[in-house]
């Protein structure tokens, strides 16, 4: 099962990116061939494919959603 994750491109090697995600995870070998992007870009990744490059306002919005959902999920787990 995959999930669309948002993170920052922190490195490039042979056309593949290393992305640090909001959730603290990190993934190498992310393909930027569809969405574009460069080091410093924020991208939405599904599997190993970057689907889109996010604007600064989208990044802020996703961070907010992420933190709200994380809180809701923690509450649901402890029900």
């Amino acid at each position: 099962m995959c999930i669309a994750r948002v993170g920052k491109v922190v490195g490039l090697s042979d056309g593949m990116a290393r992305v640090e995600f909001f959730d603290g995870g990190c993934l190498g070998g992310v393909d930027l061939g569809v969405a574009g992007g460069k080091v410093g870009s924020y991208v939405e990744v599904f599997g190993n494919l970057a689907l889109s490059v996010l604007s600064a306002s989208e990044v802020r919005n996703r961070r907010r959603i992420w933190s709200e959902v994380r809180k809701a999920a923690a509450e649901a787990t402890h029900l």
């Binding site: 099962m1 999930i3 948002v6 909001f22 959730d23 061939g33 599997g47 190993n48 809701a72």
Partner: protein, 253 residues
């Protein structure tokens, strides 16, 4: 029954976890439990940390009066079954806003709006839907190469299935129908033979033989399918593709 559901779910969660796409960094432990055929509480704890799969199981369970790891719940999610019909679409919609990490609410709203009130909490539906809005409908104009990458990625991430043609030591040759994009619409192409890895130490694969039907996730054979499961995955995959094509069709007018 609960233990079977845990192991069933772990079989499908294993490969994306192995690739680093979802769940905690506990792949060795998941493999160990699958090989031993045990479903220890530690495995449950790992599976609960999957950011999308576990919330989906919770949704199906609470809508149908089941427990999260009752066999029917992960079976409905990964393979498909009539249990999915008992999840009200408005509840699925609310769930997509509140419990799926990081989804853009506008995207979710637009996607559901384009489905005319139909949606199923099936894994393949989730995968195809995730790509539908940002990439296939509203994304950048895709080159043929980029389009191929997108469709390959969707195809690997959905649960596909096929007939085993040849059994190797760690690899199977499987005849399966790949996903393709034709004239802006998704469909299953005619069968092709592809290679898929498998773990012969996991119970159903100890006796696998040519002619068996297997499910596949990221080019990895997860499980052997019964006739009923084969009919269900075919039916619900077809439903998922039809729904996503309905959305794409609405966007292209």
């Amino acid at each position: 029954m609960r233990d079977n559901g845990i192991l069933f779910h772990a079989k499908y969660a294993y490969m994306p976890n192995s690739l680093g796409y979802c769940g905690p960094d506990e792949n060795g432990k998941i493999r160990e439990e699958l090989e031993q055929g045990t479903a220890a509480e530690a495995l449950v704890g790992i599976l609960e940390k999957f950011e999308a799969a576990y919330p989906f199981l919770r949704l199906i369970a609470r809508s149908t009066g089941k427990k999260v790891f009752d066999y029917e719940v992960p079976e409905a999610y990964w393979i498909g079954s009539s249990l999915l019909e008992h999840v009200p679409v408005p509840e699925f919609y609310q769930f997509s806003h509140r419990e799926l990490k990081g989804r853009d609410p506008r995207e979710v709203r637009e996607f559901f709006r384009g489905l005319d009130g139909r949606a199923v909490p099936h894994h393949t539906f989730y995968v195809l839907g995730t790509f539908a809005a940002p990439v296939l409908a509203d994304g950048p104009s895709l080159s043929n190469e980029a389009q191929k990458k997108v469709v390959e990625s969707m195809d690997c991430c959905r649960i596909s299935w096929g007939r085993v043609r040849h059994v190797g030591k760690r690899e199977l040759e499987v005849e399966a129908r790949p996903l393709e994009l034709k004239d802006g619409r998704l469909r299953l192409a005619p069968p092709r033979v592809k290679k898929a890895r498998y773990n012969p130490a996991i119970s159903p694969f100890r006796t696998i033989r040519a002619g068996d039907i297997v499910s596949l996730h990221w080019n990895y054979a997860c499980d052997l399918l019964t006739k009923r499961q084969e009919a269900n995955i075919s039916k619900y995959t077809s439903t998922d593709i039809g729904l996503v094509n309905r959305f794409l069709s609405g966007r292209s007018h």
